[in-house]
Structure formats: C-alpha cells, structure tokens
C-alpha cells in the first residue's frame, strides 16, 4: 500500500477495524432512518441516510462495502422500518449495480456534480422501491412521500458527505485510487 505524506495526520486503524467502520456507519444510518420516532410528527418521511453511506463507500472503497453488506443493510432497513421484506434490500442492490457499473463516471464527479451523482443514485433507488411496492401491494403508491424523502435526502447529503469525507480521511485513509 502506498503511503502519502498526509498519512502522518491519520489515526491509522488496523485493517479489521477499518473494515468495520463503513458497516458501523451504515447500521447507525439504518437505525437513524428507521427509528420509529418522527421529529415532524409524521409530516415528512425521514431522509434515507443509509443510502448516503452505501453510495459513499461503494464509490471510494468498494472493498469495504461489498454486495453482501449492502444486502444485510437493506434487510435490516426492511426489518426496522416496517416495510415489506426485501423492498429496500432490492432497491439498494439495484442502486449498487448502477454504482458498480458506472463507478468511473461517478467517481470522477466533483462539486455540485457529485451531489447530482448522489441524486441520480437516490432516484434509481426510489424508482426501484416504487416499482417493487407497486407490484408487491398491487396498488399504485402515492408519489408525494417518496418525492419528499428524495428531496430531504439530497439536501442532507451535503453535510453528511462532508462528515463521511472527514471520517474517511481521519480513520480509513487510503482511497480506491491509492491501491
């Protein structure tokens, strides 16, 4: 592994601990998203924090965000949120496939384009979930709650991205490009 001069500022953790960090953040995000407490009295659905974590590490360290982990995260999301089993699991996997196929494109985005990249991933996840819910319930689900969740997630991705970047640089260090 190639070390850079900025490594002197890092708190370098042993490899197993580094591998746990994305999973830990993902599960925390699931709990935050799915915790049955609404700060808005049920007016707005909570933002999908967990997809931010999946998107971030699937881009910059895919070895720390393998498909199996995405499956487990999605399953926990379904379990805690009261959604039909497999709904968000499948949606996250569809999004993961998109990221996996277009990683070069997404990873090259910077600035507002990076936000748009996440918005696209979020849109894919929402459309997948909508389609699955439609087939699952055999009713046409309302679009408004999903659109609200989409908007809230994109807006909140900006501060969350800064935080995840800090965690990545502070505790994990090497990125995909360093290998």
């Amino acid at each position: 592994m190639r070390r850079t001069s900025s490594d002197r500022l890092l708190v370098l953790l042993p490899t197993p601990a580094v591998a746990i960090i994305p999973a830990l953040f993902a599960f925390t995000a699931v709990v935050l998203t799915s915790f049955p407490v609404s700060l808005t009295g049920g007016l707005f659905p909570p933002p999908l924090f967990v997809l931010m974590v999946i998107y971030f590490w699937a881009l910059i360290r895919p070895d720390l965000m393998p498909p199996g982990l995405v499956f487990a995260i999605g399953l926990l999301e379904d379990l805690l949120s009261g959604s039909p089993p497999g709904l968000w699991t499948s949606s996250f996997l569809v999004t993961y496939v998109l990221i996996d196929r277009q990683r070069d494109v997404f990873a090259g985005l910077a600035g507002w384009a990076a936000i748009l990249g996440f918005a696209l991933a979020m849109l894919i996840a929402s459309v997948s979930a909508y389609g699955i819910a439609w087939l699952y319930f055999w009713h046409v689900p309302p679009i408004q709650p999903l659109a609200l969740q989409l908007a809230a997630s994109i807006v909140l991705y900006v501060p969350v991205l800064s935080f995840l970047n800090w965690v990545q640089q502070r505790f994990i260090g090497p990125q995909r490009s360093d290998f």
Binding site: D78, G82, G86, H139
Partner: protein, 371 residues
C-alpha cells in the same frame, strides 16, 4: 465535492458473482415476505421488543417538544379557549344525560324483544411510543404486546376515533397499521343513512372512500363510522367526516396519529350463537320432516301481572335461550348487527364483557368491577 481526483485502479465487475447471489437472495426475501414468512415478522417483533426502552426514551423529548410547540400556538387565546370549553362541557353534559337515558331504553327494548345482543369488546390501554412514517407504510408502535393480551387484528382507537389495527404483536410492543396506510382497507358506513363503503388508505392524510353502495347519496360533512362488517372491528366507532375533492370522496379522520398518545386496543368479541336444533330448521318447523318427540316442558311460572308475554324468554318463540341482552352492555355507538355477527367464533367470550379501559391486562372480574 471531494471525489474529483480519484484514479481508477480497480477493475470493473469484480463483485459480479456475489452481486448475483445477493440479488437472487433479495428476490427470495421479497417472495417470502409476500407469502407472509413468519420468521421475518417474529424477528421484527423481537427487535422492536428489544429496542423498546430506547424507542420510549427517544420518543419522550420528541413528544414533549411537539406538545410544547403545539401548545405555544394557543398561548395567547387561553381565556377564550377556556370559555369555549366551558360552554362545550355544559352542552356535552346534557348530551350525556340524554345518551344514558336512551341507552337504558335500548337495553329495555332488547330485553323485551329477546334481541341478539351486540358483540361486546374489551380493551386495554396502551401508549404510542413510536411513529414510523415511511413512503410505503404508515405505522405506529405501542407499548403493549402479547403479554398484555394484545393480538394481531385488534382495533386501536384514541379518544377521538379509530387509528388503525394491530398487525404485528411482540411480547411488549405492537405495530399498528394506520387507516392512512396504503394497505389499510376498513369497512365503514356513512351516517345517517348507513351507506356501506370501504375506507382505503393511500398514505395521505385523508383516506379515500371506495366501493360505495349503489344509490348512496353522499355529501360533505356526513359522519363515517366503522360498519363492523367482516367482524374485524366493532361497529359504530367514529372514524371521520366525509368531504369531496377532485379525486372523489375522502374522509378527514378524527384521530391524528401524529399527536396520538394514549390509545385503546379493543378485542372485538362476538357472541357465540347456539347451534340450531332440528326443531329450529325451517323444514321441520313447516312440518315437512317428522320432528322427534319433545319431552313435556317443565312446569312454567306464569309471568306476573303487568308484564307482557313477550318479556318471558320462553315466550319469545326462539330456542328458549337466555336473553343475551342482559349479559353485554356495549359502550360503543351503533347497534346495527351485521350478518357476520351471527357467525360462531371459536374464542370463548368471558362473562359480562364490556368495553372498559384499564392499564393492566384484561381480567373479566375487573370488568365487572368497573361497571
């Protein structure tokens, strides 16, 4: 933002095999969920039970802030609000007296007619400890579970009206599917004409009214109550008020899940009707089939003077069954008995069950004490 300088060093498609495996697994999970795979529900209930203290702890400050914020809006009109409540209280006291009188009269009539009693319901009180508003589900979590005799299918209502039904019960917690949920379908009737319809949730604040009875003339402002059809919910529970918009008739719900706190979880018990004897069958009664010899009835006591003959249980011409109207006293509105209420229910109805609230588990003896 920060991902503009990455070099691409990893080959594409390296995760294809595990991706294919987990994709198949996800489809299997979806199909299992559609088939109501029980372990998933059990895991969900167990997880909620385990997280109950945390959910309760987090919900307390959230509710406190919400209550404070909603209370702050009314801070400046406390006096006028107080006056309005006093007047309303006085009016309601008058109505309460009238309702008590009418209920006693209905009881007397039921006794006179040997009428089939209304299904009884008992209830436990629970508290809302969580509210999950997701794009495809509208649910709340209660702090009562199977240890408090809460079962899936039971109706949940607060002081204002029906909230929904229990769909998953853990030992200490229960998930409620709200009337606004996409999957909620509840049979209702529109008052005063008792027009039957289905209240269909659509994840919006106001569920739609579907499958309205033919010829029903609906208009804004009519009250919607549960019809009791299907035997899932007690009849006559207040649901909301009808209004019309561009998409059709919708119901503005009385109960607000966002501010619901203490709720009743109602166990709707249906009276088990005695099985008909051969003599009750129409063919036998009409003389088409020979009826078995009937033993001489025991010596009957003549009713006292002044009591109409119909008041005697045996004189009602039925099976000689004890009038059940005296055993139940439903405190719910609406006395219409749906055809489904005559279906036998395997569950044993406790003696003298009434609709009572108490914080602990149900106990028929306590019910009697509360009457």
């Amino acid at each position: 933002m920060a991902n503009g300088t990455w070099k691409i060093a990893r080959g594409k498609g390296s995760a294809q095999l595990p991706l294919a495996i987990v994709a198949v697994l996800a489809v299997i999970v979806l199909l299992a969920g559609k088939a109501h795979f029980l372990p998933f529900d059990r895991a969900r209930a167990a997880l909620t039970d385990w997280a109950k203290p945390a959910i309760t702890a987090v919900n307390v400050p959230v509710v406190a802030v919400s209550t404070w914020l909603s209370g702050a809006e009314h801070f400046f009109d406390v006096y006028s609000e107080n006056q309005r409540l006093r007047e309303e209280n006085a009016r309601l006291r008058q109505w309460q007296g009238a309702a008590d009188m009418l209920q006693a009269r209905v009881k007397r009539y039921q006794l006179l007619l040997n009428a089939v009693s209304d299904p009884a319901s008992t209830s436990v009180a629970g508290r809302v400890i969580g509210h999950a508003s997701r794009p495809f589900s509208e649910t709340i979590v209660l702090n009562a579970g199977t240890r408090d005799h809460v079962k899936p299918g039971e109706t949940v209502a607060d002081a204002r009206g029906v909230l929904g039904r229990i769909y998953l019960a853990g030992q200490h917690t229960a998930w409620v599917i709200l009337l606004t949920d996409l999957n909620s379908r509840v049979p209702v009737s529109v008052q005063p004409a008792n027009d039957q319809a289905i209240l269909a949730g659509n994840n919006s604040e106001a569920p739609a009214l579907e499958a309205v009875a033919q010829g029903a003339k609906l208009k804004d402002g009519q009250e919607v109550v549960t019809s009791g059809n299907g035997g899932l919910m007690p009849p006559g529970l207040p649901v909301g008020v009808l209004y019309h918009d561009s998409s059709g008739f919708r119901v503005a719900l009385y109960a607000d899940p966002g501010t619901a706190d203490d709720v009743r979880i109602m166990d709707f018990k249906q009276e088990q009707m005695p099985a008909p004897t051969d003599q009750d069958l129409p063919a036998t009664a009409a003389g088409f089939k020979p009826s078995p010899p009937v033993e001489a009835p025991p010596e009957t006591v003549a009713p006292p003077a002044g009591v109409p003959a119909a008041a005697s249980p045996n004189a009602a011409g039925g099976t000689g069954a004890k009038p059940t109207a005296t055993t139940t006293a439903p405190a719910i509105r609406g006395t219409a008995v749906s055809p489904s209420t005559t279906e036998p229910k395997p569950r044993v109805t406790p003696p003298a069950p009434t609709q009572t609230d108490k914080p602990a588990a149900r106990n028929p003896d306590d019910d009697e004490d509360n009457q």
